[in-house]
Amino acid sequence: MSTSRRDFLRIALAAGAGVGLSACGSSGPESSSGAGGGAGSAKGSASYWYLTGEPGEGIRTNTVDRFNKANPKTQIEATTFQNDAYKTKIKTAIGAGQAPTIIWGWGGGGLKSYVDASQVEDLTDWFAQNSAVKDRLFPSSFGAATIGGKIYAMPAETVQPIVLYYNKTNFEKIGAEPPQSWGDIMDLVPKFNAEGIAPFSLGGQSRWTNMMWLEFLFDRIGGTEVFQAVFDGEKDAWSNPASIQALTEMQKLIEADGFIKGFSSITADSNADQALLFTGKAAMMLHGSWTYGSMATEGGDFVSSGNLGYMNFPPVEGGTGDPSDTVGNPGQYLSISAKASDAEKEIAKKFFAESVLSDAENKEWVGAGAIPIVNGTDSLLTGSKDEDWLKFVYATASGANVFAQSWDQALSPTAAEVLLDNIAKLFQLSISPQQYADNMNEVIGT
């Protein structure tokens, strides 16, 4: 009947308008970060995802801009994410087949999970053909990029050892010296608390921040072999006496109120933990060297006036570890998505060869207080405004007997999640060192 046809059209139109509106939305105006709807969509452009947070964010963006200027026909579109959100987002994107062309990462176990799922390009041959690119870089940086003897990522950016920072003014307030050993640390704790200063700032909700403490304690007490056993999949590796001792010492520090009140709800992404240090609410902080740059910019004159002290993590009395060892990120790693088109892959490779760790970029890293993983950077350090800091980082990174990769990046994502979970509980004092060891022993080798 004519009436029903008309009415049917009315409904169809209404529903269609609703859906049509939404379809418009999915190809509608883009935000300023220029994401073309996920994987490199426009012809002649590749996509690249990386972390927010200065100074890294700005420097990465500049590198991309330089490349785009030099290559007007083949562009790279960048999208940024916060650290914790990124770790999940990149996985869902890869799983959805919508990974960016260039995948920023930490190498190690995370990279291995991509390799196992055939989601990233094998770059071994490319590096063989482009040896100039390979030879410029720190040889040690290729460790985390190599899975099963093949290279799956381009090492990039900077070495980032974990550093013990301290607020010199706070130390002067109580007339103390920076700690030279674990015993010193435990002694300082009540002294700072009496003054209303938190001994250590910590962004505990992020969990990997807690992990940095354990990485050092394990190393200082029992040497690198302790975690190496875990990584190699040895049974009951976590029940090693050195491991239990480290876990026990950790809880002792927490019980003594060594950390700022509320540390379990402070995230590292918001830089709240850094703020606690440079506003003087906390005396010390164990954190990555990348935070130097953001403290310099956000902390007023905290850094420039020389108020920021830094040192390697002190030894633990009676420990067998080498006090020169350090932990952290031996570099950042850029992989190429195996699902990208050939054109996109070529753009990415060009980017690797030409723009990543170019001289201009290296200068910017140094200017922000970080050491790019390029041979010979030490010559850039003299005369820079952060000379002392840079020389310290360089010495720590290159002088370390062993530079261990962050545990949550070395292990597989599944094991890493259990690890972070148990670390969080350990820091909450809701499980004992023995329980931690039992829980973690169950996932060794996964």
Partner: protein, 306 residues
Amino acid sequence: MTTGAPTTLLTVGHSRAGRTGAVTWMALPALVFFIAFGVIPLLGVLALSFTRWDGIGEINPAGLDSWRVELNDPGLPHALKVTFEVMILSWVVQTPLSILIGVFLASHERYRAVLAVLYFIPLLLSSAAIAVAYKALLDPNFGLGAGLHIGFLSQDWLGKDKLALGAVVFIVSWQFIPFHSLIYQGAVRQIPRSMYEAAEIDGAGRVRQFWSITLPQLKYTIVASSTLMVVGSLTFFDLIFVLTAGGPGDATRVLALDMYKTGFQANLMGPASVIAVILVLVGLGLALLLRRIGGGGASDSQLEGA
């Protein structure tokens, strides 16, 4: 009021069957949508629980592996415990308060106008917004309590296990008491005055009236509101995700959050699907249980005894 009396006797003209044929197709589009994005995913969750998938690579059938892994994981009973704690505590806090406030709102016309405007604002905020705001408010160093220098308020609310759970229950109540009190208000206003008048004549005081008349008459509303609270609390995700991300440690890791973390962070989609199946079963079970307690059809008249 017209009830569903046997209309076949009253039907004039087209037969019921003919009419049915004409309207049946109308239900199809909704059914299709619901099957596509409701029923199939539900079955899909069951299917996925028998696979091994890391979210990135291929999906591999794995028999009962994921079930074994998940059922042996101590995280699962813990998540169940946390979920039920939140559910029960929030019911215990919300229901009495909502009933009291609902009764109050039902009888005070003047205040109602003022209260109604401000009172229901929490309902309009998204869970994400509420979580973001409370995260700032409860910060032990920079929040409201710290700023006012009130020791009790500036505790490490979100950083200590028990306190975090309490904070979650409080915030949930803050968000939903207005809603439930609205429901109760509507229900109370439907109680016929005649019942109260009769009680007055019998000499019953206000308190007695409340217990003997108001509460029994609210029975079905209590069941409905409780069903909402209980089944709803199973799905808490947004608020807790933004507020504590399940922490500190796993003190607030409810089932839905456990599912998300297991699947999207630990790359264990199989076990995560197992959690999802459990979530569905618990939800269905609770809904049925409450219906049983509520005594069958909500269509029964509540006016018995009027």
